[in-house]
Assembly symmetry: C2
Homo-oligomer: 353 residues x 2
DNA sequence: GCCGTTCATGTTGACGCAAACATACGGTCA
DNA sequence: TGACCGTATGTTTGCGTCAACATGAACGGC
């Protein structure tokens, strides 16, 4: 008896099981399950009791199959380890939940072509209505690997050329604000610790830093590429600060700025007395760094929200008709903002200005 | 004609559409789609071409329905904003991908009873084979809200009493190491900036800190509860350091430790000359704080890996038979490790020891 | 030349659910 | 009384896929 129950109960109970147990039709169970009102009070109670008794749990796959919607969106990401990605994911998940969608994570082992096409293939097995790609690589533009056709797509952190809908922070303006801020403080030169060349964001920031300097008639010094880590910021600054004329450093993210400040502390340089440092991101910790870091705040929440908006538009429009390289491209840009704290100050020999 | 194609093509193409287009049966399409070998070369090519032409994409829901497996696990999390949660999620996603599972995020708006039961309800609509709960609240133990019965569950950051399988870092040992380290340096008293009382981890660390002091015959001072944020660490330390006899602070996470150090910097106290600070987590930035932070390293990757192992065990065992308060409970503990850097030093008047 | 074997391919049915349609019953109003 | 309505419930059907079985053609051994 008990044995029958256990071994026979290989599959979880279905509506039919609940229906039989409660002595109603499976359709009535469906109605109760979906909270429809046209069910008699006593019948509803009976069905709910049976559900409880049998441990019934609706089968999401069957429901999705019937409805033709999965209420789920995929997020392809290379790493969760960076502040920006994490915040973006958080925003996406929050927005998705509001629209009653869930978020399926499709992680990328590395940024090789193989891993990317693997993720795309994986996408085929996933029940998703659309995809957000948070991508730090140029790989997406290569025609060799094709996203499943007809799937709504929004890309974060890419360039405009892809033909996909793109949402991103205004990297150009952010880097300009940071660089100009240092120039306005009287610094004659601004050195840049850039992010990896595989990142569109990093390249945009670097380009903007360079053109901002040029606009002031300054020849940009050679750039140094880190990998977003504090350690890379530390190492680069150690080398950079060997030159005593260096008075202003703009790092492409807060973590590298933190590493830079550690190097400066170690070398006995005063911040901002001897060297000013600007970061990028405004991570939560930045205001507690020593000294509190002047940085560019990125509004990741808005990025996530807008990405979901764009995606929902595509989903509502039927996806297939609109997405893909030929379709609903265009870039949505989210403003960035300079947050001035205590890691920046007037250049030596300059009184305020 | 074109119109027919567009408006008629409301639903994405199915196997039947591909089959018709290629002039084969849908079963043959299925065989090609699943990479079975018993298909003639020429037929396969024809089918693949038709798939391409129609933009065919397998329907995950139908597949899952047929197979009875979703190859997806749910993760219920309150916030992605803390370092530990993010790292844990990263590890879970990585492990899941290895086993060819994807991860569905089920975010919790807040830690109220309503939000939790909402997440559980949500779970019903999700196609998942099991759930990892990364939970900072005691709510899980309340009988009022029941997880769907028969669903494999692993809990991270909980206590042992729940009856669910629990995986967590060894909080007891970690806090003991931190406290003992400060005592060994000659500090007569160790103050604690604890995490919120809703967090099991925080409570475990606090308890362990207290009993470590008692083991050395020291009466624990009153504890201060922060909310994990740098700001709370800052505020608490501002108050705490008004007392000049305070020479050692153990914060329950690195972010609060960072806030503490900022307060000490501001008050002109030397670290570690006047006050030693120990954190908890060993986030990537900690070694670049100023001074580099002595802290307790948590092995989040192992936690994620073990959580998935436990979950897969349950899934393999048939879930229903084993999970739930009566079943496969037990706690898996992951060792923690003290990382000594420069934020701690001998107490004033003590020469080394 | 008959039978068994092998392989490519087709046909059928079922997974669990819910939309659409069908029924049944009690009451209302002309 | 009978046409009509609203409400609670049941019945049928099909979503897209794939396992199981069915078919049919090519081939080799006797």
């Amino acid at each position: 008896m008990t044995d029958t129950l256990k071994s026979g109960q290989r599959r979880p109970p279905s509506m039919a099981d609940v229906a039989q147990h409660a002595g109603v039709s499976s359709q009535t169970v469906s109605r109760v399950s979906n909270g429809l009102t046209n069910v008699d009070e006593s019948t509803r109670d009976r069905v709910l009791a049976s559900m409880q008794a049998l441990g019934y749990r609706p089968n999401g796959a069957a429901r999705a199959l019937k409805r033709g919607r999965f209420n789920s969106i995929g997020v392809i990401m290379f790493t969760l380890a960076t502040f920006g990605n994490m915040r973006t994911l958080d925003a996406i998940a929050t927005e998705a939940a509001k629209a009653d969608y869930s978020v399926t994570l499709i992680p990328l082992a590395d940024q090789t072509l193989g891993a990317v096409s693997g993720a795309y293939r994986r996408l085929n097995d996933q029940a998703v209505d659309g995809v957000v790609i948070v991508f730090e690589a140029h790989l997406i533009d290569r025609g060799e690997i094709a996203l499943p056709p007809g799937l709504p797509v929004v890309v974060i952190d890419s360039n405009a050329g892809s033909g996909y809908a793109v949402v991103d922070n205004d990297q150009i303006e952010g880097a300009r604000l940071a660089t100009q801020h240092l120039l306005d403080l009287g610094h004659r030169q601004v050195h840049h610790i850039a992010g990896p060349t595989t990142s569109f964001s990093a390249m945009h920031r670097e380009d903007s830093w360079r053109s901002t300097l040029r606009a002031s008639g300054i020849t940009p010094p050679s750039v140094h590429h880190g990998d977003w880590s504090t350690e890379s910021g530390y190492q680069i600054t150690l080398a950079l600060a060997a030159d005593p004329t260096v008075t202003a450093i703009f790092a492409a993210n807060d973590q590298m700025a933190l590493g830079a400040m550690r190097a400066l502390h170690q070398l006995g340089r005063d911040i901002p007395g001897d060297v000013s440092v600007v970061g990028y991101d405004d991570m939560e910790e930045a205001h507690s760094f020593w000294p509190p870091l002047t940085t560019v705040r990125q509004d990741f929440h808005s990025v996530g929200r807008l990405a979901m908006e764009r995606l929902f538009e595509q989903i509502a429009a039927g996806g297939a008709a609109l997405s893909g390289p030929s379709g609903l491209g265009g870039v949505t840009t989210v403003p960035t903002e300079l947050v001035v704290r205590e890691s920046t100050g007037a250049a030596r020999g300059v009184s305020g200005r």
